[in-house]
């Protein structure tokens, strides 16, 4: 038995009330457009958690990340067994021209930085240039695009935290390289040499913000983290070491429960769409009761009628979801350049397409269930009488 032979019948049924079918289809498509956009937004906000390295740990001051660590900690952590590489970073609080928007700028140890973050992709000549140039910086592609910086430009940055001992607050840095992120992660940041920043600054000398380290075996992460914290326990500066993933998750949790908010909105939207589609199907079946009775008289089985009704509602929700999701993809692609600075990871992850298909199938089955059930149980004599 071929399912395909039912297609003309399905089309004829759906096309009978063209406006109604189109409107239902449009409301389903709108619901999935909204779903796609919200998922893209969530991915943009919390996608960094998935991209964080499984083999990376972050060590910071036990009290809070705004307090600094002695620089000597780098050597002490590097000498622990199982540690592949350690780098130190410090938050610079950079501004360029507009003092309202803070640039993600970090002072770092150049050679170890690139060893700890292998995903920072930099052409070989630019990498060599930066390692030799202590007044240079490397800039992420997204950040460079925002301010139209090119290799060779000298950029005056201001810091909203640090000043030089001579009182000036202009830090000139040459763009030695522009890096991309081979994991498609965030490139809205810049890095420059720690020495360049440590010598002239008026306070906090020989202190670093936090340590980032790569371990040889990710399975050993928890042990190594405990060992690091034990190393500095009962000192003036105690530490707290966590995986990069846990650290990123902590930050995301602080923004608020984005998952719950999105679930509430999507739930409300889908509930409404379920009502709309179920109502349409119900109406359509009520109108066609006599016709269905004739079909049964002609020998269509109850199961065939049930399948036919469910297929109609599934066709609307599946096609509607595909169109909605495609629209969402188009819109996020259009918006990405403008939002790059704020939401670098904007995009619909593969899992969302699967989820959308699943939701569409459930929606279609639920919406068609009641009308299909009544069509299946239809008694020919009653139905024909009603139609007469």
């Amino acid at each position: 038995m071929s399912v395909l032979k039912y297609l003309p019948l399905l089309r004829a049924n759906l096309w009978r009330r063209r406006i109604r079918t189109l409107l239902t289809f449009a409301s389903v498509a709108t619901a999935f457009l909204l779903f796609g956009l919200l998922i893209a937004l969530r991915h943009a906000i919390s996608g960094g958690v998935e991209l964080s390295g499984a083999d990376r740990l972050i060590t910071m001051h036990k009290v809070s990340f705004i307090m600094s660590l002695p620089r000597s900690y780098v050597e002490r952590v590097a000498s622990l067994p199982g540690v592949r590489a350690v780098t130190a970073a410090s938050w610079f609080g950079g501004n360029y021209r507009d003092e309202r928007s803070t640039i993600v700028a970090e002072a770092a140890d150049a050679d170890t930085l690139l060893a700890v973050y292998p995903e920072l992709a930099l052409p070989d000549d630019q990498r060599r240039a930066w390692l030799q140039d202590t007044t240079g910086m490397i800039v992420g592609e997204a950040l460079a695009n925002t301010y139209k910086w090119k290799v060779g430009d000298v950029i005056p940055l201001h810091s909203n935290i640090y000043r030089k001992r001579d009182g000036s607050n202009v830090w000139e840095l040459r763009v030695d390289g522009i890096f991309r992120n081979s994991n498609n992660g965030d490139t809205n940041a810049l890095f420059f040499h720690y020495q360049y920043f440590n010598e002239p600054r008026s306070f906090g000398r020989d202190q670093v913000g936090w340590l980032v380290l790569r371990v040889k075996d990710p399975a050993q992460s928890a042990t190594i983290a405990r060992r690091i914290d034990a190393l500095f326990a009962n000192s003036d500066t105690e530490t707290k070491t966590s995986s990069e993933r846990a650290f990123a998750q902590t930050f995301i949790n602080q923004v608020g429960n984005i998952g719950a908010i999105i679930a509430i909105v999507v739930g409300a939207v889908f509930f409404t769409m379920l009502m709309v589609t179920a109502n349409t199907m119900g109406q359509s079946i009520r109108e066609r009761t006599p016709e269905l009775a004739v079909m049964k008289t002609l020998g269509f089985s109850g199961a065939q009628i049930l399948g036919l009704v469910l297929s109609e509602s599934l066709l609307i929700t599946l096609l509607g979801s595909a169109v909605g999701m495609l629209l969402a993809r188009g819109l996020t692609a259009l918006a990405r350049p403008a939002l790059q600075q704020y939401l670098p990871l904007l995009g619909i992850p593969a899992s969302a397409w699967l989820a959308a298909m699943g939701f569409a199938a459930v929606l279609g089955l639920l919406a068609g269930a009641l009308p299909a059930w009544s069509a299946w149980r239809l008694r020919i004599t009653d139905a024909l009488r009603q139609g007469g």
Binding site: L23, I161, F251, N253, G256, M275, T280
Partner: protein, 397 residues
């Protein structure tokens, strides 16, 4: 003629509305569609309203906040002890018996686990001067007592106590190498301060190795109008490079980005959901008109004009919109009003605690949006109803 038209209009509209219960399931769908949109719209807006209001309540026009020049927030600001004295001694500042009414303050962050997720959050710990409570007229201790100056004691704002773990009066918390005693819980009429932890500024300086430096000074001005003169006085002093703002402006700046983000995301959601609801309403009203084809044709044959027919369809749509709108407002109020949450204040990288606020103004906004959606959803079907041919309509079954 006019009177006749009006009578027609009233008769046909009433007759139609009386019949709405007959088409209950279809009508319900349109109303629920509108209700869903209104709930979400009001819910999202109540979030930004709540965020804005905790910051607005905190801000007085006659209290000035002084930061280092070039700083936008307390976190990145820094002032020396001498500078804070100069800032407090200006003639525009109110003087009490024991000196000017001013509070030099220190602002740091501590990691405290959130109750909801158990993960660490950046809670603001504010070191305040002895007169801090006089600068906040609504400040009061709810339980326990004020911290004792010079001791490792804190008081906790009531919403911080609810949002974060372990901050109860009488308990001891361990931050860094110090044990802090939680002496009491305070309220400040729902302002941003209720999400903070307070202690004596000099104690905090020692605990955080800050020497004698501060980050901001709050002063009580004689009159709000003195702000410009006060700023001019400080700027004329060569020993100071400062930024002076009224507390209200300072907090408005802090809330600007977050409220803009919430409102623009909320608008996109409301517009798209509204589109979906319009489709649902159109569907309902088209099928209503289809069901009433013969009735409408009969009315037209009896001499009723096109306008009463249009009005009857539109008023049915508007009634459904009104019902949906009211339902949506109720759902938003029950579901969101007063729900307390906290989010990251990107200006200072610290948590800000606030409650959703469903205000009457927001409900009116939701209700008008619901009615607008219903109007759009009813208009096309109404026009179709008025234009259909009488003869064909009478023949329809």
């Amino acid at each position: 003629m006019h009177l006749n038209g009006l009578r027609q209009l009233g008769a046909i509209t009433l007759m139609n509305l009386r019949n709405v219960p007959d088409r209950l399931s279809t009508s319900l769908v349109a109303a629920v569609g509108v209700a869903g949109v209104v709930t979400i719209l009001v819910g999202v807006l109540s979030m930004s309203e709540g965020f804005r209001s905790v910051l607005q309540y905190a801000g007085h026009d006659d209290v000035a906040i002084v930061l280092r020049g070039g700083s936008n927030d307390e976190m990145s600001s820094g002032l020396s002890l001498d500078q804070t004295r100069l800032i407090a001694d200006a003639p525009q500042v109110v003087r009490a018996a024991d000196g000017p009414l001013a509070s030099p303050e220190l602002y740091v962050i501590i990691d405290v686990p959130m109750r909801t997720t158990g993960t660490a959050a950046n809670v603001p710990l504010r070191g305040v001067g002895t007169q801090a409570r006089l600068l906040r007229q609504d400040f009061r201790i709810l339980s326990g007592r004020m911290f004792e100056p010079g001791k490792f004691e804190v008081i906790v704002g009531q919403s911080a106590a609810r949002q974060f773990r372990g901050l109860n009066a009488g308990s001891t918390v361990h931050w860094g190498s110090t044990d802090w005693y939680v002496a009491g819980i305070f309220a400040d009429r729902g302002s941003v301060a209720e999400g903070e932890v307070w202690t004596d500024a000099t104690v905090l300086q020692n605990a955080y190795n800050r020497g004698t430096s501060y980050q901001s000074v709050r002063v009580q001005l004689r009159r709000a109008a003195d702000l410009a003169r006060y700023a001019a006085t400080l700027q004329a002093d060569p020993r100071l490079t400062v930024r002076v703002m009224s507390e209200r402006v300072f907090y408005q700046e802090q809330s600007r980005i977050i409220t803009a983000v919430i409102e623009s995301v909320g608008s996109v959601i409301a517009v798209l959901m509204g589109l979906g609801a319009v489709f649902a309403a159109l569907n309902t009203m088209y099928s209503t008109v289809a069901v009433r084809t013969r009735e409408i044709a009969t009315l037209r044959a009896l001499g009723f004009g096109a306008l009463p027919v249009v009005t009857s369809v539109l008023s049915e749509a508007m009634l459904l919109g009104l019902a949906g709108g009211l339902l949506g407002c109720l759902a938003a109020w029950l579901g969101f009003n007063g729900v307390e949450t906290s989010t990251m204040n990107w200006a200072s990288f610290s948590q800000i605690t606030f409650a959703f606020r469903v205000t009457p103004a927001l409900m009116m906004r939701g209700l008008s949006y619901g009615l607008l959606l219903a109007l759009i959803g009813g208009l096309l079907p109404a026009i179709r109803a008025a234009r259909q041919s009488v003869v064909a309509g009478l023949r329809a079954n």
